[in-house]
């Protein structure tokens, strides 16, 4: 019995990381209807940016995150305004192609700058610290922090979307871009802000990934798939749905792994397919289909 509780718990905690990766994707998909193929690579980029600051100065990765996340946010805003906005339109292909190009460019830039070595952000004792829960159960402090960060980020975003004028503008631009423009909303600016927030969140995800394990320049694309699945399972436009999606994916993988290691990833994909078959719009979809 405790083994199953342990499996569930580890899966749910893993879901925290997955939903951090998924949130940025959900934002750009939800607001701009843009699929960012380079999403995972941007996370790795942010993590390397953090490593570049942490290693020479010996700073705490969590402190560095406070600098890297806003910087990535600014970068995201500028990227959207200067390049990605030009790709948006009726055709969904240009943003796919452009971000695919970014994916290749980022990987190779990182390779040239940081070499192919695997790197990590070291948080010392905290990395392996755990809280004993009696019996044979223990929960890692770091996965718990990641989960709390995911909940905090999603809570903040939920508040932003539902209770602020900016959130209203996001929703308006998402529901009907043309009507929003008629109402005096500058879509280009709104899209820039959405991408800025998406990048800031993906920076958090990337830094946590580098703290949790280690990373190398080519690791980005592998992160994209789970993020996608978490978004689709949760449903477009629902932020808490993204968290649920990440957790469902994490638990499915953990349960699959427990049965047989070869089934771990497969179980995640099967859960994703099952949701697609039963509820094609995701479990908690709120965005209208255009």
């Amino acid at each position: 019995m405790t083994e199953w509780i342990d499996t569930l718990m580890q899966g749910i905690l893993l879901g925290g990381l997955y939903s951090l990766f998924a949130t940025g994707l959900a934002l750009s998909f939800g607001v701009m209807r843009m699929i960012n193929i380079a999403h995972g690579d941007f996370a790795i980029l942010a993590a390397f940016a953090a490593i570049a600051v942490v290693e020479p100065f010996g700073l705490n990765p969590f402190v560095v995150l406070l600098v890297v996340a806003p910087l990535m946010g600014l970068f995201g805003y500028l990227l959207q305004r200067t390049i990605l906005n030009r790709t948006l339109g009726k055709d969904i292909l240009p943003p796919l192609l452009v971000t695919f190009g970014f994916s290749i460019i980022i990987q190779n830039l990182l390779l040239v700058t940081f070499s192919a070595d695997t790197r990590s952000l070291n948080v010392g004792e905290l990395g392996t610290a755990s809280i004993a829960l009696g019996g044979d159960l223990a929960v890692g402090v770091l996965p718990l922090i990641i989960m709390l960060a995911a909940v905090a980020v999603l809570g903040a975003l939920q508040w932003l979307f539902s209770a602020t004028p900016l959130g209203r503008a996001f929703r308006a631009a998402s529901d009907d871009a043309e009507a929003a423009q008629l109402m005096g909303i500058d879509n280009r600016h709104i899209y820039g802000l959405a991408m800025g927030i998406a990048m800031a969140v993906v920076a958090i995800a990337g830094v946590f990934l580098a703290i949790r394990a280690n990373i190398s320049p080519a690791d980005g694309p592998a992160r994209l798939l789970y993020a996608f699945e978490a978004v689709i399972i949760g449903g477009l436009g629902s932020l808490w749905g993204t968290l649920a999606g990440g957790m469902i994916l994490g638990v499915a993988q953990a349960v699959g792994l427990k049965a047989d290691p070869g089934w771990g990833i497969l179980a995640g994909h099967l859960a994703f397919l099952a949701v697609l078959a039963v509820r094609p719009n995701g479990l908690f979809a709120r965005t209208r289909d255009r």
Binding site: G11, S115, T118, R119, G124, S216, L257, G262, G264
Partner: protein, 426 residues
């Protein structure tokens, strides 16, 4: 308008160039082209993508080679300049095959060398075998290379030669390493679902039969899909079976995940011997203080008592020169890159002319003491394969950071042992 014209001019030049190339390609014998005083050595390497860490020493090694071969080499009484044509495999076996056929058909190289994992060596060697071009590869355990290409131990291959250690060596090193410490002999396995993981975990040719024979109990939950984010199922299984030794062949991110989760969930094995993940100093550094005590197979280190046949440089001096030039720590592929060119140049020097058959025969007769040890393709376990020595090492903390210290040499007594295996401090 003027812009249009220049584009047009460019196109014309391109067409001319293509015409020239086609005319060149139509010449009957490929080596006639290269015969004008230059020998071309083609080199395929995963310079970008997930395997790029193996290619880090490329630029340094090629620089050293160009320096050493500045005066050219003598083949059949005539001096030739040596040119290197380098192609990136992008860590992709299809791309590696394409790059090789480009080297053969377009660049008309005299010999092809390649290294770093079956994803590079197998397609490169296959292309060379197909096109009848001499080829030397290394840095892939010989079974995945030889049998992975459908090699027949009775016949072997005609054009392609390979040198590295094999699964039997790594199994031998690991088991004798583990016998140094008193344990309950329960071994937990972390084998991913890839060519390495499947070969190591193979119930007939891999670890399981040898471990059973030597009295170890193997706890193998099965093959996981890499990259994996969660190892708690493995850890629970290991704890339940009271595992004291953990082994595997897994990429650094997977091992980092496992090792951090093991810490969080209070799993404390005495010995952890993980291939691949702990072979590279930079990766080990990234594990932080918990890297101390990890052990691994060692294919080359600065203490290996070998010298380069080409430059005379010792293992220690090569490692020092690399660190000085690149400010990076030494890594095992460094010497293997160097040795690839040693074997190629040695064969070229002994060839009676630049006909592919002559170069191939010279490779076949190789009997050379290289920086990775003696290489002789006639003494291998199967035709076309030579074995290099393998020992075991442990990462120990020194004033300068972590150092890989040789602690086991039962299979290669020429490599000196510096210390004993110690249990990982809890």
């Amino acid at each position: 308008m003027s812009e249009n014209r220049s584009i047009d001019q460019g196109r014309r030049n391109t067409i001319k160039a293509i015409g020239g190339l086609t005319a060149g390609a139509l010449l009957p014998a490929p080596w006639v082209h290269a015969a004008n005083n230059t020998i071309k050595i083609g080199y395929v390497s995963p310079q970008t993508g997930p395997l790029a860490v193996f290619a880090e020493p490329d630029a340094f090694t090629l620089g050293e080679m160009k320096k050493a071969l500045a005066g050219g080499i003598k083949v059949g009484g005539k001096t030739y300049a040596v040119e290197f044509v380098v192609k990136d495999s992008q860590s992709n076996s299809n791309r590696a095959a394409d790059a090789t056929s480009e080297l053969i058909l377009k660049d008309k190289v005299n010999i092809v060398v390649a290294g770093s994992t079956p994803a590079t060596t197998n397609p490169v060697a296959d292309q060379c075998e197909l096109n009848g071009v001499p080829c030397v590869t290394n840095d892939t355990p010989w079974q995945p290379h030889f049998f992975g290409r459908g090699g027949d131990p009775k016949k072997g291959f005609e054009w392609t030669y390979h040198f590295f250690w094999g699964l039997e060596d790594v199994i031998g090193v690991f088991t004798s390493l583990w016998s140094q410490l008193p344990t309950n002999k329960a071994v937990g396995a972390l084998f991913p679902n890839d060519s390495d993981g499947n070969a190591w975990g193979d119930p007939k040719l891999g670890f399981p039969p040898v471990l059973a024979q030597k009295g170890f109990k193997l706890v193998d939950k099965g093959r996981f899909q890499s990259p994996a984010d969660d190892f708690s199922a493995y850890i629970a299984e290991f704890k339940k079976n009271n595992v004291e030794i953990v082994t595997g062949v897994l990429p650094p991110p997977d091992f980092a995940n496992f090792w951090a989760q093991a810490g969080q969930q209070g799993f404390k094995p005495k010995i952890v011997t993980a291939a691949k993940a702990t072979e590279f100093p930079a990766a080990v550094q990234s594990f932080g203080p918990r890297a101390e005590g990890l052990s691994v197979e060692v294919w080359w280190s600065p203490v290996h008592p070998f010298n380069s046949s080409l430059t005379g440089v010792s293992s220690a001096a090569l490692a020092a020169a690399y660190t000085q030039a690149t400010s990076r720590p030494w890594a095992m592929p460094l010497a293997f890159k160097h040795s690839l060119f040693e074997v190629a140049i040695d064969a070229l020097k002994r060839a009676k002319d630049l006909e592919p058959e002559s170069i191939r025969d010279a490779i076949r007769d190789t009997n050379l003491n290289t920086i990775v040890g003696p290489i002789n393709f006639k003494k291998g376990p199967v035709p076309n394969v030579a074995k290099t020595p393998l020992v075991g090492g442990q990462w120990k903390k020194t004033a300068k950071g972590f150092e890989l210290v040789v602690v086991e040499n039962s299979l290669a007594p020429t490599v000196p042992v510096k210390d004993k295996l110690e249990a990982i401090k809890a």
